[in-house]
Amino acid sequence: MPTSDIGLDKTLADLGVTQPEQVALRFAKIRVHFQEHFQTVHDESEWKSFRDRWLGRKSGVLTQITDNWLKPATPQLKRAVGASLNELRAHVESQIEARRAAIESGAEESALARERVDLSLPGFIRPTGSHHLIRQVFQEIEDIFFSIGFSVVEGPEIETPYYNFEALNIPEFHPVRDDMDTFYLELPTGAKTPLLLRTHTSPMQIRTMEKQKPPVRVIVPGKVYRRDNPDATHSFAFHQIEGLAVDSDITFCDFTGTIEYFVKEFFGPSVKTRFRPSYFPFTEPSVEFDVSCPFCGGTGTAAGGGTCSKCKGAAWIELFGAGMVDPAVYGFVNYDAKRVSGFAFGIGIDRLAMLKYGIDDIQVFFQNDVRFLRQFP
């Protein structure tokens, strides 16, 4: 509807309006016109032209009313025109603002629907690597012992019989050597000493004590080798952490306390522990250390009834050997066995990792199949 139809281009006098009642009628017509026009406004561009049409400063409807109706109005009509104009302005402004808000939120909604991410799709994944599980277990154990004052040292994997056996109180033909089938290196004739692949990390006990006076508190992570045919539980290379603590006042109680601390940190506080007397040539008293089976909670019975397959119903799992350092060993490193005492232990890492993570074949550690590696990032 052009503005001429509602007489905005004429003065009230031209329109023959002389009475306030007639003023009210004119304004009512304008409102109807506004309402009709308002219905057609749906989007932002319609809204903008609609707003300019009504509120535009130069030729908007309200400006025209002011210029053509209000300003030239007779004094007797001026009041009525002014009041009606104010009412109309308030109505128009509030309606237009309301429509703006409505249009905006509508626009956002459709934009959202269009742009909303599908969270069931993956993100952009850059290839990431992983830590080897054995390395992770090493780290965990190192951290536990480091926190109670154990330093970390390393030693050679190729050793002499002296460090691997003799200085650990295992002379030649000792029956214990039969349990440690050993790899030897081929050496040129005239070599001073045979060389072998260490069968345990224990040689570093000797090397450490040779270099350092008590107090000694070290752990030795590393690879060790025994000439066993490989199967699901044997590998001719595997991993150990040796531990050694020697001081003027280390006792068996300190030993068991240290081991218990480690195991509760590693397996959790509910695990039970026990020490069984055993025999190793380089410790005395020697022990085997057991934990309550973490798979059946130390009951020997599997969750679904029947015998627990991990501990074979024994409720205990043998973890590793340890003991108080045999005084004979001190003789090899010039320690005074009457003044110092200490303990040593050797933890098999592969076995521990297999137990903790339910791995049934030691070979997977060395095959390095990425489908295995991926499981332990």
Binding site: H132, F146, R276, P277, P285, F366
Partner: protein
């Protein structure tokens, strides 16, 4: 050792259940593999440790049981009836090698009747896993299982001159005329001996009839026609027995017991017990007395144990009564010898003990403390955490190694661990010239007969495993060692090895696939190089790398001795290893890298951030093939323009509009002043100089970009 539960009852009044017994034995030091209930009652499978030969017989186990349950042990005291004829008239024994044989006893029984054993004897042997043969042979096995002492029975009439000579085996003579001594053992095998082996011989000593302490000979074996029996019960030196058993690869029940150290005092008793059983089951007449040659008799050792030492080692006390009861039950006959004798729990308490003949390995105070503690119960010593007296240290390279590892994992590499044993021919593919590998003298197989002399050989194996198992995109690293020999010395070197193959980026929702290339390897290594202040690359051909994509890597400290190498595996080698896709490999020696990391870290200082904006200018150049990017950077840097803060290559291509023999390189130079914002005029001036120098020095042409 199979411990037959009911057999123990011959010696102790045992009431505990087999299960309880097994667990108490386990907690006092006998490892238990299992308990089985068979037709002859419970049998406990005990893994007796090598220091406890006394527990390789039921009598010895019963002594342990007595100590654990505080039950008295019934002693074995056989009193067989003897005839008036003397054994010493019937048999002569001479020990010529008393260093190998410390005691030899002989008894003779005439007119025995060799026949099958009665059921009770067969049952006990069967429960112990021993086959029954005939009464006399079974008795010698039975007595060994009962008393833990091996013995041997000869057919008396087959022993020449009824004389036994114990001597070393006769060696081959140096001239090679005489062969080393040989004999056929009971198991029918002809064996050859060396002179450290103790032989039992007969007559004038020329004929061997048994290997001392290991196995008898076939010629004097008991048979069903045997009438008269000679019982040998001896004691042999443990180390010599272990050596001989290993030399002969012949490990028997007898060699196990003598090898661990049998009880020399038991020899006569076990012989008497065997005689008693033979009379009972095979009849006959036992000649009186025993021929007993005992050059190795030892006076029992005295060993002292004090409460002070128990406390020092164990950290908690054991009551006097417990100390004395345990030691007594185990046969150590403790006697209080300190001045405070009457006082229970005295700190001065000291006991003098006598080493029993069956516990030769118990010689020191610490040995007695172990005995006391294990019978008392290790759980009675309360655990506590010792106080630390000094700070703990990580490995010197811990931080450096951790940073390398974390960076590699961030770059997408998976850490692996490999076994260094490889096949010699594989190792040789990658072994640098002049390197001696560490070969094994006793490998398990030819596939694993040498220790890797580079990390490359095992990481290539890991790539191969993955490709063979359908895993085509693989990026691996290993922080390990390689092993070499220098003369007769071993050298272990810490190395980082990297191996990659397949796609660096797999096709995905947002990205196209992209093969791993030399640029990926170089970029990843340079990202590690950032930690050492930059790697220096040099073109170099290792024989097993593709010569067009091979390099050595050095660190600033020593540019002449590279710390490693990197490149693409040569086709020829890849085919040998059946690697059918491009493989990229690198290895760095870690100790110099760690050292360089420390140096770089120490030298690192903050550089204030620039206050003024930087300006970039791109130069599109045509360069002759063979002109390197480093020629471009050197030329630009030689201008000495302080405001140049970076020179980068941002695009490179050949072909299309680029003439043959040339390539197009887009170089971006960044200008940055610390003093002021650079003006257009300054930048123009610098750009002019750069273009002039590139044209003049490198023959570069500018391309309209």
């Amino acid at each position: 050792m199979k411990v037959v539960y009911n057999w123990l009852k011959d010696f102790v009044d045992l009431t505990a259940t087999p299960q309880d017994l097994a667990s108490r034995l386990a907690l006092s030091g006998t490892n238990i593999a299992g308990v089985e209930n068979g037709p002859h009652g419970a049998v406990i499978d005990a893994e007796v440790s090598s220091n406890r030969p006394d527990c390789l017989g039921h009598y010895g186990v019963a002594r342990e049981v007595g100590a654990i349950y505080k039950l008295p042990l019934r002693h074995v005291a056989p009193k067989p009836a003897e005839s008036s004829a003397k054994a010493s008239d019937a048999v002569k024994v001479e020990i010529q090698s008393s260093e190998l044989c410390g005691r030899f006893t002989a008894r003779v029984i005439r007119n025995v009747k060799i026949q099958p054993s009665p059921k009770w004897l067969k049952d006990r042997l069967e429960a112990s896993g021993v086959a029954s043969i005939s009464n006399v042979v079974d008795i010698s096995n039975y007595v060994m299982l009962e008393l833990g002492h091996p013995l041997h029975t000869f057919d008396y009439d087959k022993v020449r001159d009824h004389k036994i000579i114990v001597r070393r085996a006769k060696p081959a003579d140096a001239a090679g005329k005489a062969a080393p001594e040989k004999m056929r053992t009971l198991d029918g095998i002809e064996r050859t001996f060396d002179s450290n082996i103790c032989m039992i011989s007969d007559g004038d000593g020329s004929r061997p009839i048994g290997i001392g302490g290991i196995m008898g000979g076939a010629e004097t074996e008991i048979s069903f026609s045997t009438k008269n029996v000679l019982i040998e019960c001896a004691w042999f030196e443990p180390v010599a027995i272990r050596r001989a058993a290993r030399f002969l690869k012949l490990h028997t029940e007898a060699s196990t017991r003598f090898g661990r150290g049998a009880d020399p005092e038991m020899a006569e008793l076990a012989s008497r017990r065997a005689a008693e059983l033979i009379l009972q089951l095979a009849g006959g007449e036992l000649l009186s007395g025993v021929v007993d040659i005992y050059p190795g008799k030892r006076a029992p050792k005295k060993i002292r144990v004090t409460r002070a030492e128990i406390l020092r080692v164990m950290g908690a006390d054991v009551p006097d009564k417990q100390v004395e009861a345990s030691l007594s039950a185990l046969g150590f006959a403790p006697v209080r010898i300190d001045q405070n004798r009457g006082a229970e729990g005295s700190l001065l308490a000291a006991w003098e003990c006598t080493q029993p003949s069956w516990r030769a390995e118990v010689e020191r105070e610490i040995d007695l403390i172990e005995e006391i503690a294990r019978i008392y119960g290790l759980d009675k010593f309360p655990p506590r955490l010792p106080a630390a007296r000094q700070g703990a240290a990580r490995l010197p390279h811990y931080e450096a190694e951790t940073r390398l590892r974390e960076r590699l994992i961030g770059l997408g590499y998976r850490e692996i661990l490999t076994i260094p044993h490889v096949a010699e021919e594989r190792d040789a593919l990658f072994r640098p010239n002049g390197v001696s590998p560490a070969r094994l003298s006793n490998p398990l197989s030819e596939e694993a007969n040498v220790l890797r002399s580079t990390g490359i050989v095992t990481i290539a194996g890991a790539l191969e495993w993955n490709l063979n198992h359908g895993q085509r995109n693989v990026r691996l690293f290993e922080i390990g060692r390689h092993y070499r020999l220098n003369g007769s010395e071993s050298i272990e070197t810490r190395v980082l090895t990297i191996g990659a193959t397949g796609e660096a980026r797999e096709k995905g929702l947002y990205d196209a696939a992209c093969d791993f290339s030399f640029a990926d390897l170089k970029g990843d290594l340079d990202s590690l190089g950032e930690l050492v202040g930059g790697f220096h690359w040099q073109q170099d051909g290792l024989s097993w790398l593709n010569p067009a994509r091979a390099a050595t890597i050095a660190v600033l400290e020593n540019l002449n001795f590279p710390v490693g190498y990197a490149g693409q595996l040569a086709r020829r080698v890849a085919e040998k290893l059946k690697l059918r896709q491009n493989v990229f490999l690198a290895e760095l020696e870690l100790d110099p890298v760690y050292a360089a990391m420390r140096t770089a870290k120490e030298a690192r200082r903050y550089e204030p951030l620039p206050k003024f904006p930087s300006v970039e200018r791109d130069f599109s150049l045509l360069l002759a093939d063979g002109t390197k990017f480093s020629d471009v950077t050197k030329t630009i840097q030689s201008l000495g323009i302080q405001e140049i803060s970076a020179v980068e290559a941002t695009d490179l291509f050949r072909g299309k509009s680029v003439p043959a023999g040339k390539y197009s390189l887009l170089v971006r130079v960044t200008f940055q002043s610390r003093e002021a914002t650079l003006t257009e005029a300054q930048i123009g001036d610098y750009s002019g100089k750069i273009i002039y120098a590139l044209e003049k020095n490198l023959g570069a042409q500018r391309r309209a970009s």
